[in-house]
């Protein structure tokens, strides 16, 4: 099968400092590819390059080629690309002035992928269930996300991403500042999603990488050090 993401010889500079060096990697479809490396090694940058979020950073320049679902990212409509390969940030960043419901609903609404309110209700519920958050928030969808714990907020952000029905999920250290209980839940969420979408997960937690990875990529100082299939 074609890889969902294919990166060939990526070099990236921010303000003329090279951050990524000769990165080549493949993320196979319907698998979890884990990128592990110490902090500052360029993991977030790499992840944001895949859906061109990196273009929001000032002074970015890159060479090389990235294909998402077989198509060069420069040939994609950039907003369609970001919706197809959704990025979930490291620190939970729900929209604080929107309700829990609105946080999940805003993507489908603004991308015009719902027919009516019932359809929207269905998508919101589906996304929250997928993120294993539904039972905890179903009675307070009208409240602001500030009432949720950090771990719940991170799952809300995952639900917000899932509501776009993406084909690829780009997760940036989703459990970095989160308690063990919530970490466990989020890992459970990801394992269940594996059959439905391609997941690229960034972490610096070795044990987590071992628990989740179908493919493991080690990155250090912007270089790929090794790329293995755990168990081989």
């Amino acid at each position: 099968m074609n890889p969902a993401i294919m990166i060939e010889d990526l070099n990236l500079w921010i303000k003329n400092r090279q951050i990524l060096h000769n990165i080549s990697l493949r993320a196979p479809a319907y698998k979890i590819t884990v990128i592990i490396g110490p902090s500052g090694s360029g993991k977030s940058t790499l992840l944001r390059t895949i859906n061109r979020l990196i273009e929001l950073t000032e002074g970015v320049r890159y060479t090389g080629m990235i294909r998402v679902l077989g198509k060069d990212i420069m040939d994609w409509d950039v907003y369609e690309l970001r919706r197809t390969a959704v990025y979930v940030a490291q620190t939970p960043n729900p929209f604080p002035h929107m309700t829990i419901y609105e946080n999940v609903a805003i993507g489908p609404v603004l991308h015009d992928i719902v027919r009516d309110k019932a359809d929207l209700d269905r998508i919101v519920r589906w996304a929250l269930e997928k993120a294993m958050l539904w039972d905890e928030v179903k009675g307070r969808l009208d409240e602001k996300p500030g009432v949720l714990s950090g771990g719940q907020q991170q799952r809300l952000c995952i639900a917000r991403a899932l509501a776009l029905k993406p084909q690829i999920l780009l997760l940036d250290e989703p459990t970095a500042n989160i308690d063990p209980e919530n970490t466990h839940r989020i890992e459970e969420v990801l394992k269940r999603l594996r059959d439905e979408m391609t997941i690229v997960l960034v972490t610096h937690n070795h044990d987590q990488a071992m628990r989740l990875a179908d493919y493991l990529v080690v990155i250090r100082d912007g270089h790929i050090e090794s790329s293995v299939k755990p168990g081989d």
Binding site: L56, E80, V86, F95, L110
Partner: protein, 278 residues
Amino acid sequence: MSRHRYFKDKLFKIMVFVFAMAGVAPLFAIISAIAVNGGKTILSVGPGFFYGLPSSPLSSSPGGIGPALVGSLILMFLSTIIGYPLAFMTAVLAVEFPESVFGRFIDVLVKSLLEIPTILIGVLVYSLLVVPTGSFSAWAGAIALAIVILPYIYTHVENSLRSIPADIRLASYSLGLSRAKSIFYVFTCEAKRGLLTAMLIGLARASGETAPLLFTIGGNWFTYFQGLGKPIGAVPLLIYTYTLTPYTNYHEAAWGASLVLLMVYLSLFAVFRRFSKP
């Protein structure tokens, strides 16, 4: 703590208190003078002060300020309706398109509007609108006020857009939302409170300005709203005009009108406080 340090500390606190009192004393003096004198007028006339017509100069009653009050409300509303969207779009341009030369140019231009004496804006509108149409009008006043309040609204909208955290911006763009959708749906929602505050600031400024109205509205104190192309009254201009007359009952009416203006101001401020509470 040594006795010496104790006394120094005490002395410092007393000094701070004294200076603070000296700072707010004039404000209290103004407010109490307006409350006492204005209160007397309003009590003597009764509720008619708010909706009645002015009395003749030598009568014993101060009369009412109805037309001017309604005129003020209309002018506040119109000028905010005109000024707010302009200020909002300008602020969006400056904050969300910082790379555009035009955005930076606009920023400097609008901020320099703050420095222009407001009477010049009145004169400008006079020559561009009042002279060609041959009449003072509500329109002319609303446009002059809109230009005056624009930079104030702009500054507040700009601040509230700038204070949207970077991770909220990232969240919006990572959902694949375009810049326009991010601005009009996500950022405006996240900056709602600041945007409303900006509107109140605009209304409050519009309610109190006199100079831009001098050459534009024509000061109609005796008839209620006649149409946008016709002269109209406003409370601050009424105060100014009445104070210049030699008539005691008009001076009393001016005090009452000042109290009304103060109440409009304070109620906008109260709403403002409600919105700015976290």
